[in-house]
């Protein structure tokens, strides 16, 4: 009974938050509500027994996306102050057709899903069987890095493409910090000294735990990115123009290492991308975590590079 009540509460909360996000009086309010929506969604995933998704939703869906939206909002305030103050909702001729379309889509899918009998998930059973031989405890990590690792490899390439696409619109000449905080706020240094190591610790834990429990490179990368975002916000890292070598290495490390290991095993007669052992899984996940974190921090900074800022 309590379970049902919690579920209903979360479901109703999600709907209300989604509605409020869309009709928000101002863009800023909409962004904040979107972050709250993401966190509630993470709760919903956790309730549905998908802790990996919950972690990813909280770290990426709410955290990183929210931070990126806020940065975009700051830019909007700077270049179009009048537009940022306007209500986010403008009447569109498309609103009604889109609403009808979305509504009917939900109805049709709902009907179709109700009709589905819980078939034996062939691939799911195969994962459960194969996992016992692999030494991994988390089936999600097994799928992502052992069984369907081409998907993961290409996802890393997608992330790189997304960053490069965003980079085409960065103004290289006017690379500037999201918060050019010139004056030092007391206690920022002390706060960073606590939070940054702690974040790195949590990211590493998520990465290592990913082999047995919920977690993995994507969640760890997002958490690691949070410490980078903090450093950028505090002015310890400044956006820099031009793609310098170590950010470039960070961006490409995951894709390169994954591809090279995946190709190298072919020389020993193994099939393409058949990872030679758990050490390869950990190595690739670490590289992917670094790449993901670097991509997200650079996207947040809106620049192709970072340089050390004045403390």
């Amino acid at each position: 009974m309590t379970d049902l009540a919690v579920d209903v509460l979360i479901g109703a909360g999600l709907l209300a938050l989604a509605w409020q996000t869309i009709i928000g009086k101002s863009l800023f309010r909409g962004i904040v509500l979107f972050v709250v929506f993401g966190l509630t969604m993470a709760l919903a995933w956790a309730r549905m027994g998908a802790p990996d998704l919950a972690l990813a939703e909280a770290a990426i869906g709410a955290g990183v996306t929210g931070a990126l939206m806020l940065v975009a909002f700051r830019r909007l305030v700077r270049i179009r102050p009048e537009q940022s103050a306007q209500p986010a909702l403008r009447r569109s001729r498309l609103a009604l057709p889109v609403a009808v379309l979305a509504g009917s889509l939900v109805a049709v899918i709902g009907l179709a899903v109700v009709a589905v009998e819980r078939d034996p998930a062939v691939a799911g059973q195969a994962v459960a069987q194969a996992l016992t031989d692999s030494g991994l405890g988390n089936p999600i990590t097994g799928v992502l890095l052992l069984y369907r690792n081409l998907d993961t490899l290409l996802e890393v390439a997608v992330l790189l493409a997304a960053f490069l696409a965003a980079r085409t619109v960065f103004g290289e000449d006017e690379a500037r910090s999201p918060t050019p905080s010139r004056r030092e706020v007391p206690l920022v240094g002390a706060l960073l000294a606590i939070i940054v190591p702690l974040t790195i610790l949590i990211a590493t834990h998520l990465l290592l735990a990913g082999s047995r429990e919920p977690g993995g490179a994507f969640q760890a990368g997002a958490v690691l990115a949070a410490s980078g975002v903090l450093l950028v916000l505090a002015g310890r890292l400044q956006p820099a123009a031009g793609l310098s070598s170590w950010p470039a290495l960070g961006l490409t490390l995951g894709l390169m290492l994954f591809s090279l290991i995946g190709l190298a095993v072919m020389a020993f007669g193994a099939p393409l991308l058949a990872l030679p052992g758990l050490w390869a899984v950990y190595l690739i996940e670490t590289a992917m975590m670094l790449s993901i974190a670097m991509t997200l921090v650079l996207l947040f900074a809106g620049a192709s590079g970072l340089r050390r800022g004045s403390p």
């Binding site: 078939d119 799911g124 369907r148 081409l150 997608v158 493409a161 696409a165 980079r167 619109v169 072919m266």
Partner: protein, 482 residues
């Protein structure tokens, strides 16, 4: 060995993109050559293999489907791979003239270019619905980035619009994939073909996936994003987008339709898809006739020509299959030539307004010649690749007594002739007053040459039809012959 060749097709471009970001600027041209030049040599032995065996499958990571992912190469994917590699080389020549690899703008352009190529290769090889989704995302995002390298406000707006629509389309497709998995417990395209039975849930899933893919292929009436995106991107980018990027999502539709849902009897939905194609041909051609800018004419022509690729659904049969595949390749080459030539004209005139083109045949003879040759193929005049495709369509329609489709193919050719001759006539029009002839920046010879080579390839395809059609015949899923 064959596995290594397939791996090279996907991983050479991906690793090349990484190296471009890391290496000093003076090495970039070498890296580009080093990852592009081997590609045709990878395809040669694969072609011999497919001509011989018809099919090659490989299991990735040593886990067979349904647990893992398969790559599968047949004549259709092989032909489109050839198309992409040819475009990478020839359009790449034109792009190299505009985006010098060692320059700053080159660093923005070329990594995306290689990621696009790697994504297309992975898409053509993949036999897994979810893996296809990831490759589609890679192709789309790289394409959007390439559009944005144009830098103009119009290009950025078009890129943004494309991004939003493409993301929505991806979500529709992904939703369909999720439903399919819930029903069948596997994501392998060909295993699904054996297990998936018609029903409410599979039908919903198929409709969702088709809707998403139709948006990505810009099939009328979901084409709204295409003309702006293709018309405002830099010339070489437009060439790639029109010649191959919109085709690969259509390729997935073919796979779904004729392989996964191959034994479902779907005459009515097939007719509907065919009618969308007819709408595309008529509407795209009509709008191409009234455009004021050269690149917009070419972009609307893409909307129209994509319509032919939908005629395979109502006419389904070996002939229509050969016709559509041939048309896909021929249109890819001809359209790339048109866009490269149009890009050169735009770069040298500073504008591509049609009335500014007067007298251009004397000032930019090579580009206008490329334009004319590519037009010949696009109109479907013999002897060209476009002719073979349209001729096969006509024969397919004739054998099924489908007079309506016959009339449509003929009318589409006439309309194409109308909008292309309108452009050509303007370039050869010499006004009496030469007083206000504008300054002209000669396009780089390499860029003009690339356009010309592409156009010649589109024509030459008309002479090479026998072996290609034989290859395609072997790949046709026989169960579908009506």
């Amino acid at each position: 060995m064959t596995e290594a060749l397939l791996a090279a097709l996907v991983f050479l471009p991906l690793l090349g993109a990484c190296l471009l970001l890391l290496a000093p600027s003076s090495w970039r041209a070498t890296i580009l050559l080093a990852v592009t030049v081997p590609l045709p040599f990878c395809l040669l032995p694969l072609t011999l293999l497919i001509a011989d065996a018809g099919l090659f499958e490989m299991t990735l990571a040593g886990h067979p489907a349904p647990l893992g992912i398969r790559w599968r190469l047949d004549a259709l994917s092989l032909l489109i791979l050839w198309l992409n590699v040819s475009l990478m080389i020839l359009v790449g020549l034109a792009a190299g003239a505009r985006f010098a690899p060692a320059s700053d703008v080159g660093l923005r352009f070329w990594p995306l270019w290689l990621l696009l190529a790697g994504g297309i290769h992975a898409l053509l090889l993949s036999a897994d619905l979810f893996n296809l989704y990831v490759t589609l995302e890679l192709v789309t995002l790289a394409g959007i980035g390439l559009i944005a390298t144009g830098g103009s406000g119009a290009a950025l707006r078009a890129a943004m619009r494309y991004l939003l629509l493409a993301l929505m389309a991806s979500l529709l497709y992904l939703l369909g994939v999720g439903l399919v998995y819930a029903e069948a417990g596997t994501l392998d395209l060909y295993q699904l073909g054996e297990t998936l039975e018609p029903g409410l849930l599979p039908a919903t899933a198929l409709v969702l996936m088709l809707a998403g893919l139709l948006v990505k292929s810009a099939i009328f009436p979901l084409h709204a994003w295409l003309p702006a995106a293709h018309g405002n991107a830099p010339g070489p980018v437009s060439a790639m987008l029109s010649a191959i990027v919109v085709k690969v999502s259509l390729y997935i539709i073919w796979r779904l339709w004729f392989w996964t849902a191959g034994d479902w009897q779907l005459p009515a939905p097939g007719l509907l898809l065919g009618l969308l194609g007819a709408g595309a041909i008529l509407y795209g051609s009509a709008l191409a006739l009234v455009q004021k800018r050269l690149k917009m004419v070419v972009a609307y022509s893409t909307v129209a020509q994509l319509g032919y690729l939908m005629l395979i659904f109502p006419l389904s049969g070996l002939l229509a299959w050969q016709a559509a595949s041939y048309h896909l390749i021929a249109h890819g080459l001809a359209k790339a030539a048109l866009f490269v030539a149009a890009g050169n004209i735009l770069a040298s005139l500073g504008s591509d307004r049609l009335r500014r083109l007067a007298g251009l045949d004397q000032r930019l003879p090579m580009d206008v010649f490329a334009l004319a040759l590519a037009s010949v193929s696009l109109m479907g005049l013999p002897p060209s690749g476009g002719f073979v495709g349209k001729w096969l369509f006509l024969r397919a329609a004739y054998e099924q007594n489908a007079w309506g489709w016959m009339a449509l193919v003929a009318l589409g050719g006439l309309l194409a002739a109308a909008y292309l001759f309108r452009v050509l006539a303007l370039t050869c029009f010499h006004p009496r007053s030469h007083g206000h002839s504008t300054r002209l920046r000669e396009p780089p010879t390499l860029a003009s040459l690339a356009g010309l080579l592409l156009a010649l390839a589109a024509i030459a395809l008309g002479f090479a039809s026998a072996p290609i059609l034989a290859l395609l015949e072997a790949a046709w899923p026989g169960a579908m012959t009506p």
